[in-house]
Symmetry: C2
Subunit: 172 residues, 2 copies
């Protein structure tokens, strides 16, 4: 199973494609979609949309694993977060990907073993789980996206035959 993990954000959206292989997982691609400094908000959304569709078309994941953040600091940041997430959901619907959403705590718990893991700990576990050498640079957003994708693979592996355990499709 091939999964695209997405850490949606207005200024930077992390994405990563991961799949399971015999005995583990391997990463196919990971990166960050960054907004141009002078881009208008709608151009930023378009940029995210087009890059996500390109990535889905290039690597053909069957599933999208999306960070589902309940805890925006305030209504304004919720608006912005919701916007980037909407674009990811739209791309999933348009390419027929199954959509699963995980909270940051679920991702940390699943990937690093404890829900309060910090960024460095998550990154270190992502490197180990996916065999990504220290020589390969990994941005925070890409590492988060890798963790979100790996989270779904972990959940799916330990929940066979049904994979609908931790992720809840379509819940808001």
């Amino acid at each position: 199973m091939r999964v695209i993990g997405i850490d949606p954000g207005n200024a930077a959206t992390g994405f990563a494609v991961v799949e399971n292989v015999a005995g583990g997982f391997r990463h196919i691609v990971a990166g960050t979609i960054r907004a141009h400094r002078n881009a208008s908000p709608s151009e930023r959304l378009r940029n995210i949309y087009e890059h996500l569709l390109e990535t889905v078309d290039a690597y053909a994941p069957a599933v999208m694993s999306l960070e589902r953040n309940f805890s925006a600091i305030n209504v304004q940041s919720a608006f912005r977060l919701g916007e980037a997430r909407a674009i990811a959901k739209l791309a999933a619907a348009q390419r027929g990907l199954e959509l699963f959403e995980y909270t940051p705590t679920e991702v940390k718990l699943t990937v690093a073993g404890f829900g309060t893991a910090d960024k460095a700990q998550v990154k270190s576990m992502v490197r180990r789980t996916l065999g990504i050498d220290a020589a390969i640079e990994l941005s925070d957003d890409a590492a988060d996206a890798l963790a979100i994708a790996a989270c779904h693979l972990f959940k799916a592996r330990f929940a066979a035959p049904s994979i609908a355990c931790g992720g809840r499709q379509g819940v808001r």
Copy 2:
């Protein structure tokens, strides 16, 4: 100038295309994009996206006038509102429409003459301004979208030669 007004919402998104003619404005089309009851959240967004692109392609507005609501009741409703709005913004960016955003108070003040106008008052002024007969049924969402589109035309008319008065493109 032809304007598409949008009142974004997750369950129902109002849209309306309005243009100015000698001595006034006329409406070209107005309606509501409703979510199918059993549609997943991402299918709802896809439905909004596809209907908006169809409408833009069919009526070729040059400008999108979008309701910009600051006052979500809570973070969760802000997430949902932000999602529908993101889809509208994406459609604007993809079709090269200029984007203007107005708060509900600005729309009421501009169209009905006072910022605390209720739905019935806005609807009545929309009918009068656009010459929409009482025999023609008008849903609340379509009436709001007509008001949002008309708001931009009013602002543009009284702000010649620059139309960048009330709407602020790209502000969040």
